[in-house]
Assembly symmetry: C2
């Protein structure tokens, strides 16, 4: 299609389009209500990583808001693979959303088809040194709704928290609710104490992270003990090691929480071993060559 030149590309409704093309009218329920669900999928070496897991979660999110997906999961897979191919990108980020369609604005669900939107573009660069030296995070109150297990397009509280973290010198905002850690504005949280891994239990309060689940699988393979546990702010401050996970962050060590240094101030051994195992997993699954 484009002679092999790397490019960003989008898909809307039923066709591939240039990524900046105006395709959405004002009366679209994503735009007016955030009435939709989404996923972000990383592509390494031209291959989408953990695609099936992401699509299954998209399906769960849609079901939770009584939204009919536009395509079957095999059809979505075909569209995503075609998009990656058309974009000629090895290292890419696929964004997919499904909204409750286009209809004159009214709260009640309209009797119109849902709409699929997708972009495929070069991945946001997370400087590799950050994953080596670790990042600083800030703790903020969790002001979000009670159903954060749904990956919906209602992301304003997450944006405000991320922006506040950034503007005060932190890389990510991690939320607490009634004194207990929930998750980051776009990540899950883990701690390690005496070689053992802990993370808040899955509940309606947090997203069931795909990277989180992969970490648990890797920990199991590495015979690392993992336990779901409610973590207090004090637990985080006093932890030997802290890291956050997401599709984009992968495994990101945390070395400072607000003005408190964590552990030695360097990524600890459990974090580093999980990080290496995750990177190896990517390489094995996608045949990605060593960096």
């Amino acid at each position: 299609m484009n002679g092999g030149i790397r490019m960003s590309i989008a898909f809307y409704k039923d066709q591939f389009i240039p990524v900046n093309q105006a395709v959405i009218p004002i009366d679209e329920r994503g735009h007016q209500f955030g009435d939709g669900v989404y996923e972000v999928i990383r592509v390494y070496n031209g291959k989408p990583f953990l695609l099936e897991e992401h699509l299954l979660r998209l399906e769960s999110s849609a079901k939770a808001i009584q939204l009919q997906l536009t395509h079957t999961l095999p059809e979505l897979t075909t569209i995503i693979l075609e998009g990656i191919k058309l974009a000629h990108l090895d290292d890419a980020e696929v964004y997919v959303d499904v909204t409750r369609g286009i209809a004159p604005r009214a709260h009640l669900f309209p009797d119109v088809p849902s709409v699929l939107a997708m972009t495929v573009r070069p991945t946001r660069i997370i400087p590799d040194h950050l994953r080596k030296t670790g990042v600083k995070i800030t703790l903020l109150p969790d002001e979000r709704w009670t159903n954060c297990y749904i990956k919906s397009l209602n992301l304003l509280p997450n944006l405000l928290a991320k922006q506040r973290a950034f503007s005060t010198g932190y890389y990510e905002a991690v939320f607490y609710k009634e004194g207990l850690i929930t998750e980051g504005s776009s990540s899950n949280v883990f701690i390690a104490n005496q070689g053992k891994l802990y993370s808040p239990p899955l509940s309606k309060k947090i997203l069931p992270g795909i990277t989180r689940a992969k970490v648990l699988e890797l920990a199991d393979r590495m015979s690392l003990t993992f336990q779901e546990a409610e973590l207090s702010i004090q637990d985080l401050h006093g932890a030997d090691e802290v890291f956050i996970t997401s599709t984009t962050y992968e495994i990101m060590p945390v070395v400072q929480i607000d003005d408190q240094t964590i552990g030695t101030g360097l990524p600890g051994p459990v974090t580093v071993s999980i990080k290496e195992a995750y990177e190896n997993e990517i390489k094995q699954v996608t045949n990605k060559s060593l960096a």
Copy 2:
């Protein structure tokens, strides 16, 4: 422009467009995050009602999420009045939103201009008999975020509640949080007891309704006593009268809450007098002829 034919019309960025025109790319922060604020303004007799109040609230909402409005309030007024004129509509509904613009998807605020979107269309018909006989509402837990005083595009919990109310035979969902009434999915709540009016206090938990404020002003003029008061579920069930207010509903009597009849099962005298005063206010301000 259109020879006086009634029509819907839209405005996007800096020009008037057909209401269904695709103008928004996928990478728009309203669509992807609900990252914006909005207002709905009723037009009676070709005149927008309480326009200044709505624009001031739009400004407050924008400020609360650190969003720069695209236009000054006088400029917005001009665009809205021009839209109403172009649409040739006497009875209309103006929807205005401002989003944080168009940029490759990332949580942090991009350095791009905000974008204005507007639609002007015939108002949704609320059958007049409903305002005469009253409606049934259902009480649902308030699952929304903690900053509902901001009129943002994150409306998924409101949609889900409204849809649930509708699908179980109710006209509106009214929320409670920790046993106390907050507001409806798109309305404020009032009760009357022994001729006295009560409504939950303004706080971060509820929208400062424009119609709510007008009701207070009218109550004052009518020498009706009003008091801001935390209302329990029991207070609602036991009230002499209940009504809900919004720009679209205006003053809507509530005669049943779940399976419990309120008062006599008919709109009570305080509700009716407020409703008549509100309708008179519309007529006086907009020179609307009597129905």
